[in-house]
């Protein structure tokens, strides 16, 4: 597999606090890559650099072999990197299709005037959800009526709508119950099956070993280990993180 995202020697400081001290991250196209580490390890900062929220003080970032430097999330999005934050970034009282197409609505011409193409957006939303194996059928239902797993599916569909090749999921199962967590893990597998690269930021080791192909462990702003998850148990992964911290 070719590398779709490569970060080398990323450095980022906030005043006196050095959040990243030369972090590396290599993500292969089409894989689910977990980013693990204790609190303060630098996961969030690294994700902010990759998603264009922050700029690195030093280091390089390349996407699909081309060096990139993002001035904002919109540039990261244009480069095919979408981030799904823990709060999902949805408008709860707006409908499923409105959320999926938020900011990139489809239009048609009516007597020469551009108007929203509601039918096309509903059909499109259904298509995206079907791609994820979702059984949601009423695209005009407000998102607030959906379960946590279904909301995650809507957020993922928005990323697909943006034609994202890399989807960063920040703690996607943090506030979910067992059944909904399983739904989200299924969604991640579906994304992989559709050829989408997923970067999974998670504290839940069970989730990581269940869906990730590879894992990068961060500690103190540096990447201390990058390895395949084959044969790795949740306990073993937790021990790796703890050992690195002790070291």
């Amino acid at each position: 597999m070719t590398d779709i995202l490569v970060v080398r020697g990323a450095v980022k400081s906030y005043g006196a606090v050095q959040a990243l001290r030369g972090a590396d991250l290599t993500v292969a196209r089409g894989e689910v890559h977990a980013l693990c580490g204790d609190n303060g390890a630098g996961k969030s900062t690294l994700i902010k650099l990759v998603s264009g929220v922050e700029s690195p003080d030093d280091g390089t970032l390349s996407v699909a072999g081309r060096e990139a430097r993002f001035a904002g999330p919109h540039e990261a999005l244009a480069a095919g990197i979408a981030t799904i934050h823990q709060d999902l970034g949805l408008a709860p009282r707006m409908t499923i299709y409105q959320n999926i197409y938020m900011g990139s609505e489809l239009e048609k011409r009516l007597l020469g005037i551009p108007v929203l193409d509601r039918a096309a957006m509903i059909a499109g939303a259904q298509g995206f959800l079907k791609q994820l194996g979702s059984t949601l059928d009423d695209m005009t239902a407000p998102v607030e009526n959906l379960s946590g797993g279904q909301r995650q599916a809507v957020a993922i569909c928005r990323a697909l709508r943006w034609k994202a090749e890399i989807i960063i999921m920040d703690e996607p199962t943090a506030a979910l119950g067992v059944r909904e967590t399983q739904q989200v893990l299924k969604l991640i597998r579906m994304l992989k099956a559709n050829g989408v690269t997923v970067i999974l930021v998670s504290h839940n080791m069970n989730d990581v070993v269940a869906v990730a192909d590879r894992v990068t462990i961060l500690q103190g702003g540096r990447s201390v280990q990058a390895r395949a998850t084959d044969g790795l148990s949740a306990d073993a992964l937790a021990r790796l993180i703890m050992d690195e911290r002790a070291a």
Partner: protein, 313 residues
């Protein structure tokens, strides 16, 4: 059934009031009275529609009545000075539009909460209106074409009703069928999410408040044309009525959310009630009590959007 009641319950209650008035208020159902009610509703509807746009983006506008008065004074003053009425009307529209844009600038660029910014603008507009008139109303025998704008009839129906219908239809179209409308809605519903989705949320708020100003300008020109006079506080009563209409409108069609159709029916309901109370011989102060009940009742029924705006203070 529950959803039907939530969407249409208030509108049906308004319909029940209408039927009550048809039966018990003498002359209420006469053609002349109904046309008069619609005429009187038009100013309130146009102002309420403007306020709805501001509230859709989760911002308050407490200046629309004062901006309307100021725009009326500017228009009336210029017509009184025998300036060509189209120029006078444009000047009135421009002043109100600028006032709305100023609100938008204060809220989005200077980060002044909309409650404070628009209260300030209202005070300034009121002061300037008094300054222009010297506290005296402009009254005169003005250009007949100008006066026919809001006094004329088309197919036997007062032109004011056509203006109102046009404003409501255009506003409904913009709010419900265009990208601008859905971006304003997303901004009001979930500003951070909308921003992350690439929507220019500050611009949406600026547009919402500016449209509120523009509506105030349109109402002002029609008001001056209809009354053939312009006074510094002539639209003052519309503030409470407009807020009540929009809040009442939030209890119907799209419960908890400001919406154009709801604001129109809200304004109509308030005008019908006011007219009915007069015809029933009720004392004038009952109207104020009624408005208070409507405001509190509406917010109790659907508080969420207003709460967001209130928390922005």
């Amino acid at each position: 059934m529950k959803s039907f009641v939530a969407k249409y319950g208030t509108a049906l209650a308004g319909l029940a009031v209408l039927i009550f008035l048809v039966i018990f208020a003498r002359n209420f159902a006469s053609q002349a009275n109904l046309l008069n009610v619609l005429k009187q509703t038009s100013f309130l509807t146009i102002l309420s529609v403007g306020f709805t746009f501001a509230l859709i983006t989760s911002e308050l506008d407490l200046s629309f009545a004062s901006l309307c008065s100021l725009a009326a004074v500017v228009t009336g003053g210029l017509v009184h000075a025998e300036i060509a009425w189209p120029l006078a009307a444009l000047a009135g529209l421009g002043v109100a539009l600028a006032g709305g844009a100023l609100n938008g600038f204060l809220v989005t660029a200077i980060k002044v909460p909309s409650l404070i910014a628009t209260l300030g603008t209202a005070s300034i507009a009121g002061g300037v209106a008094f300054m222009i008139t010297g506290g005296v109303a402009f009254v005169g025998r003005w250009d007949a074409t100008f006066l026919s704008l809001a006094r004329g009839k088309l197919f036997g129906i007062p032109t004011l009703i056509f203006f109102m219908a046009a404003v409501v239809l255009i506003a409904w179209f913009v709010a419900n069928r265009t990208k601008l409308g859905v971006h304003m809605l997303a901004t009001g519903e979930a500003q951070e999410a909308a921003h992350r989705a690439g929507i220019a949320t500050r611009r949406m708020k600026l547009i919402g408040l500016t449209l509120s100003g523009l509506a105030a300008g349109i109402a002002a020109v029609l008001l001056v044309s209809n009354l053939s006079s312009a006074a510094p506080q002539m639209a003052g009563d519309f503030l409470m009525n407009g807020i009540a209409a929009v809040l009442l409108g939030m209890t119907m069609f799209q419960p908890g959310r400001p919406n154009i159709a709801g604001s129109f029916v809200g304004a109509l309901t308030i005008a019908v009630l006011a007219n009915g109370l007069v015809l029933l011989g009720a004392p004038y102060y009952l109207q104020d009590i009624m408005l208070g009940v409507i405001v509190i009742g509406s917010v109790s029924v659907s508080a969420s959007v207003l709460k967001k705006a209130a928390f922005a203070v």
